[in-house]
């Protein structure tokens, strides 16, 4: 029977929202030669761009502030520098630059100067390309993954988007759930 085929379903176990690329980098191991560390640096305007990019991924809504307010503009480049191998840093940096070039080409403006609708258009193009490329590592994949990771572990993500309960004090495995009730911030 097919279902008895062993699956490498780490992503299934961990929650499918994060891509296999990020799974590999953040959760599996490989050793990076010393000389390949800290390949890339980011400017203040890169951080601004990344904050606006993240805000498109997880925007401010009536219920809670979005990724920009959660500090993702600084979080994403810090994570790329500290937690990704040189090759992935390079893919990320080149992709960030390519996104800005695309903005110039299509709108004659930088990403930060685009309207929200224009940003969504650009990000949608990147998403479609990532899907077409079978989700091989790209700027979009990495930045989106880090936005999700960073947002839902930020104070805003944990306490406003979701509900944070630091010391439950008891366990109820059959608690009532009413539609719309937020997810717990931690498992």
């Amino acid at each position: 029977m097919n279902r008895r085929q062993a699956l490498k379903n780490v992503a299934f176990l961990m929650g499918g929202a994060i891509s296999a690329t990020t799974m590999g980098v953040l959760f599996e191991s490989f050793t990076v030669p010393e000389k390949e560390k800290n390949f890339i640096t980011f400017s203040a305007s890169d951080e601004e761009t990344l904050a606006e990019f993240a805000e498109i991924i997880i925007p401010t809504t009536t219920s809670s502030a979005g990724a920009k307010a959660a500090g993702l503009g600084a979080f994403i480049p810090m994570m790329v520098r500290d937690c990704y191998p040189a090759k992935m840093q390079e893919i990320f940096a080149n992709g960030l630059q390519a996104m800005n070039e695309r903005c110039t080409k299509e709108f004659n403006k930088s990403f930060i100067s685009l309207t929200t609708a224009e940003r969504v258009q650009i990000v949608t193009e990147l998403k479609d390309e990532a899907l077409a490329a079978n989700k091989t590592p790209s700027f979009f994949i990495i930045a989106r993954d880090l936005t999700i990771l960073g947002y839902f572990s930020s104070e805003i993500g944990c306490t406003a988007a979701r509900e944070y309960l630091p010391v439950p004090g008891r366990y109820d495995g059959s608690a009532p759930y009413s539609p719309g009730q937020k997810a717990w911030a931690t498992n």
Partner: protein, 567 residues
């Protein structure tokens, strides 16, 4: 005044305990409570209960890297990063692999923590008794050597250990998993209750599902607080709600005022006295200064973790013991075992969308071994149990790939649309003489010591068992009404279960074993080894409770023998 005599006196104790983890802490408690003046040596740093649990009360946003590892941590911890336990919140507990290398003749993931408390701070807390089936399997099928004890020998010591540490769980009257003295069990959640009912009906109670028996307190116990259901045990518990050296055995030992703890003390070898044919003490390297020093005692308890202890014994060579202390049998370093796991099945549960969890239970379900017993016959020896559980996580199968935007955010802020239930097998590995460790003199650790080489692999019996670990799980989940059942095998290498055992086994015959039925060395009667290295077989249950019971039992015997003048 003779300074040397004074120094010797100052460095002399009734007993030395090498290691401060689960079994070392127990040895220190038992020996001090029985009146001995004890020195407990720990190779790593001191960890003070609560105060040094740096990350225990941190919120998710207080971690710089959202819990993830940096490239620098991956570089310095190439082994510890091979699996999940080492992360930003727990990084303090795991060794820098570059400082203490070892040789892998075959891949072996060696997870280590050098600090007072050892792995008692990081352990999984699942606490199960071995049954007579487990103690008899070696004798029955001829793998390994016969256990020198049976359940009746250890049963009162299981009682004693459980009562002291506090184990929550449910008695089930299951022949392969003896009942114990339990605090109230944690609750099964709504999906687990349904799965339990349907599995037990389907298999007519020839398989059962119970709540995990865990050394987490469900009610206050012996002055310690009960579990707060945060599921952050791996950071150290500020409520003292799970058993660790710090929360449990160390305070008891300290209360006697007969315990001295010396951190940063690497035991390099045990000093053998050829005239008395006993150990006279240990040689220690100070991990901070690299100074060497000696400590002396009437008895030595070796509790440095299976491979740590085995290294010390192999490294304790002398004219009388040229291949390691007490190694006349040639078995020291051999028969290395670990559980094999990381395979099973998962499925989703429908019909529970109006239920959710409150609180985070650091425990799961347990299905004790049911294979190769009664009418259940398999094409391999021994068997496995399952650990797992149901949860309503945050995985949304309806979210389109790489989605983003407002709807995505709102969906991700809700719990998953359905519950999922997983069963992961935990299988017994047979003892194989050729699975071994030995000292590799071609490499040195940070302190100039030679290193351990590990040559260990799973074999055909384990491979066959893994098929059933997947298939049985998938069948049970389907019988329990789960949908989208998927079997998985995420690969497993020895060491990953962090249940390495067997390299200084007990036995009745000095020709085929290192330790006797009291965990006492056949050849050096004032040396006792009561950590995982003593195990002639490993069953499929989590082993720490057995180490505790064996340690308490050995301490009782050792002190009686000491008082009789026999050692």
């Amino acid at each position: 005044m003779n300074i040397n005599t004074d120094l010797k006196k100052q460095n002399t104790y009734d007993a030395i305990v090498v290691g401060s983890g689960i079994s070392g802490g127990w040895a220190a408690k038992e020996l001090t409570e029985k009146g001995l003046k004890v020195l407990m040596l720990e190779r790593g740093m001191n960890i003070e209960h609560i105060k040094d649990y740096d990350s225990a009360m941190k919120s998710p946003w207080e971690f710089e890297h959202a819990g993830k590892l940096t490239e620098e941590q991956k570089r310095t911890h190439p082994v510890q990063t091979r699996d999940y336990p080492y992360n930003e919140a727990t990084e303090k507990w795991w060794v820098n692999d570059l400082e203490c290398p070892y040789t892998e003749d075959k891949r072996f993931d060696w997870y280590r923590g050098f600090h007072v408390g050892g792995k008692s701070l990081m352990w999984g807390r699942q606490s199960y008794r071995f049954s007579d089936h487990n103690f008899e399997d070696n004798a029955k099928d001829g793998h390994g050597n016969d256990w020198p004890i049976r359940y009746k020998d250890i049963s009162p010591w299981y009682d004693y250990a459980e009562k002291f540490i506090g184990v929550s769980g449910q008695n089930e009257n299951w022949p392969l998993l003896p009942d114990g003295h339990f605090l109230p069990p944690m609750d099964l959640n709504c999906v687990e209750k349904s799965v339990k009912e349907r599995i037990e009906k389907q298999y007519n109670k020839s398989r059962i599902l119970t709540i995990g028996r865990t050394a987490n307190l469900t009610v206050p116990h012996n002055g310690r607080g009960n579990c707060q259901y945060r599921n952050l045990c791996s950071r150290g518990c500020p409520f003292g709600a799970y058993f660790s050296t710090q929360s449990s055995t160390l305070p008891a030992a300290m209360a006697t005022k007969r315990l001295t703890v010396r951190p940063y003390s690497i035991v390099n070898h045990i000093i053998y006295d050829k005239d008395t044919k006993k150990a006279k003490g240990v040689m220690v390297i100070d991990a901070e200064t690299n100074e060497t020093m000696e400590f002396y005692a009437k008895i030595v308890f070796v509790n440095g973790s299976t491979l740590g202890s085995t290294f010390v014994l192999l490294n304790s060579t002398s004219e009388a013991h040229p291949t390691g202390l007490g190694n006349g049998s040639g078995q020291l370093g051999h028969n290395l075992m670990d559980h094999h796991f990381r395979c099973g099945a998962e499925g989703s549960a429908e019909g529970f969308e109006d239920k959710y969890t409150y609180g985070r239970r650091a425990n799961g379900i347990y299905i004790p071994r049911y294979q190769n017993i009664g009418n259940d016959k398999r094409d391999y020896l021994r068997g496995f149990g399952y650990q797992g559980g149901a949860s309503r996580g945050s995985w949304h199968k309806e979210v389109a790939e790489l989605a983003f935007g407002q709807n995505f955010k709102e969906t991700m802020s809700l719990p998953a649309d359905s519950w999922s239930m997983g069963l992961g097998g935990f299988g017994e590995m047979l003892p194989y003489y050729e699975n071994k460790v030995y000292i590799d003199h071609t490499k040195k650790d940070k302190w100039g010591q030679p290193v351990l080489a590990i040559d260990c692999e799973y074999k055909e019996n384990e491979a066959k068992m893994r098929e059933d670990m997947m298939n049985d799980a998938a069948e049970m989940l389907e019988a329990a009404g789960m949908k989208n059942v998927k079997a998985y095998d995420n690969d497993c290498y020895p060491g990953m279960a962090i249940h390495e055992m067997g390299t200084a086994r007990m036995g009745n015959d000095p020709k085929t074993s290192v330790l006797n039925k009291w965990n006492q060395m056949h050849e050096v009667n004032n040396v006792f080894v009561t950590d995982g290295s003593c195990m002639p077989s490993i069953a499929c249950q989590n082993p720490s409770l057995t180490f505790m019971a064996l340690t308490a039992r050995a301490c009782d015997y050792a002190v009686k023998e000491l008082k009789k003048g026999n050692i």
